[in-house]
């Protein structure tokens, strides 16, 4: 069998991307600086540091935590975090016996306003295929070895809910500032493949 034509002799992807941009620009469809603005937003506004601030706030303010549990979309908006792919946010609260992990097996949906654009591994076929069926093994391979007695709950982002993980506050952080607490929260912590490390 000869190789299928679909993947042979393609124009390089960068040139395909620029070709579409040029075709639309030739028709005056692209407002000035449109692509640059989106790129700026994607690189700077959608940021896991936002989710980190939400978590830190929840750790120090029990009333905010309660609002986050009951209406995370509004709670995140209180801190200024909202927008596309954040229309309906749900915070997943870890406990001593439950660990939450987020995936999108069908594409790569993510709560952009609080998690930022997801990393490549989150979008990889490996993660999408394996984490639902082999959650514990995948987490262990990624450096998070959870005891067998902790239930792992994997959240597949298949409709319009966008998730963020609310991890347990680590021991030894009593009296820390919100900023110092937020520094413990990486994007991987918000997805659920890591825990905050003091």
């Amino acid at each position: 069998m000869t190789d299928h034509q679909s993947t042979s002799n393609m124009a390089p992807k960068a040139r395909r991307a620029r070709a579409l941009e040029t075709a639309l620009a030739d028709k005056n469809l692209i407002p000035e600086n449109y692509v640059e603005k989106i790129t700026q937003i994607a690189e700077h506004k959608w940021d896991a540091k936002n989710g980190a601030m939400v978590v830190a706030e929840a750790w120090v303010d029990s009333e905010f935590r309660e609002r986050l549990r009951t209406n995370a979309t509004a709670a995140c908006a209180e801190l200024g975090f909202s927008g596309p792919q954040g229309e309906y946010i749900v915070a997943l609260e870890n406990t001593a016996t439950l660990h939450n992990v987020i995936v999108c097996t069908l594409c790569s949906c993510t709560a952009w306003p609080v998690l930022g654009l997801p990393p490549d591994w989150y979008k990889s076929f490996e993660y999408r295929a394996r984490v639902v069926r082999e959650s514990r093994t995948v987490l262990r391979e990624m450096g998070l070895d959870l005891p067998a007695e902790i239930e792992i709950r994997v959240w597949d982002t298949t409709a319009e809910t966008r998730y963020m993980v609310l991890p347990c506050r680590p021991k030894g952080t009593e009296g820390w500032s919100k900023e110092a607490l937020a520094d413990l929260i990486t994007q991987n912590v918000l997805i659920g493949v890591a825990l905050p490390e003091v």
Binding site: H4, Q5, S6, T7, N9, M10, A11, P12, K13, A14, R16, A17, R18, A19, L20, E21, T22, A23, L24, K27, L29, I30, V35, I38, T39, A42, E43, P84, Y88, V90, T105, L106, C107, G116, P119, D120, W121, E126, Y127, A129, R130, V132, R133, E134, R136, T137, V138, E141, M142, A148, I152, R153, V154, W155, D156, T157, T158, A159, E160, T161
Partner: protein
Amino acid sequence: MDGIHDLGGVDGFGAIKVERNEPVFHEDWEPLGYALGFLGMGLNWWTADQIRHAIERMEPRHYLSASYYERYLTGVASLYVEKGTVSQQQLEDLAGGRYPLALPATPGAQARTQEISYAVGETVLVTNTHFKGHCRMPRYVRGKQGIITHIAPPFPFAGSAGHGLEAKLEPTYHVRFQAKDLWSDAEENSSVVVDLWQSYLEKAP
């Protein structure tokens, strides 16, 4: 559609590779798929579901060999061509080479007319139905039973929205499945929660 994109539980993939200090974009063309996709959404030319479905409709070999942003770009380019804004030939001339697009869409679907609602804590059955269009019910839950843990607000039914049809607003349900009920060799003490439109669910027998 039971397409190549429906990856949950598929065996044979290797280790997950994590890049340290990863940039948001690795190459400067990468934001173009998102940006030009939003452009069309802003013009009400298509929905996010239609972009997702255009990506799913990529020829499977292309889907599996492409990077994420290449897939997104291909989906968006396909929608512009299907809209008639630009032709595949023009794109190929501009790119200086082949410019594969998504395969044609099949007809969309309507949400169930009959209103059947479910309560938190209720055991439900995922419909054992197959549909070649846009479907946000991963095949690994088809025909399985789970427990409703949360009811999310109504959103446009994906089976219609993915095809540019007027879409009924329907609540989605967070349904928790024991992983062992989905795969007999799944990890111990683990569960999977899937967010499912009401039309994908039935009363448990």
